[in-house]
């Protein structure tokens, strides 16, 4: 396929990376938008998830939110924020992406904290830990795998969706694909697609390793867990990923 060879040639040219508005610039914007969006969503969703999960209330609302967010097209939300009074550009994109990152983090945090064994909590209380200490030293380590799943889902989703922002006047690596379609340049389209796909896969990999590093207890990489057929034993992460 000729376009694929041309795409490799394009990606091999250092000038395409380093020039002003080149791949490195777009990558920087892409990563900055994604990082701010995920961070903002985490700051809002994590405490709420802890609060709802430890009190065990609001489960219905959380599930409804995660289901509705699955039905909402990412492109639609990006466009809606772009035509709102915020104006199109990176600010609108960041807010839209943060809205997307919110449900997976909230749902998984909620499920993780709700799933902590009440007996363990009771024992910790009986040993004299205060409520906040129980949350920090008992609930958090036990809920961490699911919290990290939520964070990973959200981060990969945001990095992937940020590419779509270019369709509605946003920045990031999607610009390359969009430009390729505008110019009928197949090589450019493929090159942009390779970059976006690689970035999403790298994000996934990075967060898998991060999860492995911060999770206490038996150290198992998530992708190895699926092979041991323990899938049925996992609690239900309702908003686990969907294609982006």
């Amino acid at each position: 396929m000729n376009a694929f060879q041309d795409a490799i040639v394009y990606l091999n040219d250092p000038f395409n990376w380093t020039r002003v508005g080149g791949i490195l610039d777009l990558l920087g914007v892409h990563l900055a938008i994604s990082a701010v969006a995920v961070l903002a969503a985490f700051v809002l969703a994590f405490p709420l998830g802890v609060l709802l999960g430890t009190s065990g209330r609001g489960g219905g609302a959380v599930i409804v939110l995660s289901n509705v967010s699955r039905a909402m097209p990412t492109l639609a939300l990006l466009t809606l924020f772009a035509v709102s009074p915020i104006g199109f550009g990176n600010k609108a994109t960041t807010i839209a992406l943060a809205v997307f990152a919110f449900p997976p983090i909230l749902t998984n945090t909620f499920v993780g904290f709700r799933g902590v064994d009440a007996d363990v909590r009771e024992a910790a209380r009986a040993m004299g830990l205060s409520r906040t200490q129980v949350i920090g030293r008992v609930d958090l380590p036990l809920a961490l795998p699911l919290v990290m799943t939520g964070l990973r889902t959200a981060a990969v989703q945001v990095v992937a969706t940020a590419g779509l922002a270019a369709l509605v006047g946003g920045g990031g690596l999607g610009r390359i694909v969009n430009l390729g379609f505008g110019q009928q340049n197949y090589a450019l389209i493929i090159a942009g697609a390779i970059l976006i796909a690689a970035l999403a896969l790298l994000t996934e990999l990075l967060l898998v390793v991060l999860t492995w590093a911060v999770t206490p207890g038996p150290r198992r990489l998530p992708f190895l867990r699926t092979r041991t057929a323990a899938g049925a034993a996992e609690p239900t992460p309702v908003a686990a990923g969907m294609p982006l």
Binding site: M72, P73, V83, R227
Partner: protein
């Protein structure tokens, strides 16, 4: 004097700015034909993607249950496909099939396939081994074993997978605007390109969400009809 002129200028500007409401029933009425055409394309793409995905996913899931050596790579590959953003996926397929709905369909089938394989496999693995054993010792062939034992027992997981696949396919189809076949997504980017025409964008968005909801409710109804024993157990 100048302040008055400024105020007057402001007034004129305010009058000049065209109204751009978020909701406009007259848009829907005036463009009913267009909306229906895009809705039709959206529904066709979704149904085709989920049905094709299911047809391919079922044998894969059956194979994966039989051999563990196959299940590992299959699930690994499905994770990779799952992670590839739709924008990149459609862009990869585009050079082969061009600006056609086939490009969108292939991408959507890939995603629904990945969701369905996982859910089908979960469902099949949830069938108790002794029940299958009992069926086989009663002389059931492999086809009958699947039809009368695996399928009914795994049906809830199958239907759950179909519902997730359908809802996310409805949402994903909008990205097909990249190649000009995004169903209701055409209204979303169309409105954006038509000088931020909000009514068109909101119509496309609400259409997608409503379509996903209706599809989900329909599939839930089908599940209810197909599993009368579950209703009896609940009652």
């Amino acid at each position: 004097m100048s302040a008055a002129a400024g105020a007057a200028g402001g007034l004129v500007l305010a009058a000049d700015a065209p109204p751009n409401p978020w909701f406009d029933p007259s848009y829907v009425v005036d463009n009913w034909e267009t909306i229906l055409r895009y809705l039709g394309e959206h529904v066709r793409l979704t149904i085709a993607a989920v049905v094709l995905g299911a047809v391919i996913a079922l044998p894969l899931a059956l194979l994966a249950r039989r051999s563990r050596f196959l299940a590992g790579p299959l699930l690994g590959l499905s994770t990779v496909i799952y992670t590839i953003p739709s924008l990149a996926m459609f862009a990869f397929i585009f050079p082969f099939t061009g600006l056609s709905s086939t490009t969108v369909l292939i991408g959507l089938v890939a995603y629904s396939l990945v969701i369905l394989v996982r859910n089908f496999l979960t469902g099949l693995q949830g069938v108790p081994a002794d029940v299958r054993e009992a069926g086989r010792s009663m002389g059931y062939g492999s086809l009958r074993l699947f039809w009368q034992i695996d399928l009914p027992l795994a049906l809830p997981a199958f239907m759950a997978g179909l519902r997730i696949a359908t809802v996310s396919t409805v949402a994903l189809t909008t990205v097909g605007v990249l190649v000009g076949h995004g169903g209701l997504g055409q209204l979303i980017t169309g409105g954006f390109n038509a000088n931020f025409y909000r009514a068109e964008i909101v119509t496309g968005t609400l259409g997608c969400v409503l379509l996903a909801l209706v599809a989900d409710v329909l599939l839930a109804g089908v599940e209810r009809l197909l599993t009368p024993w579950a209703r009896l157990a609940r009652a």
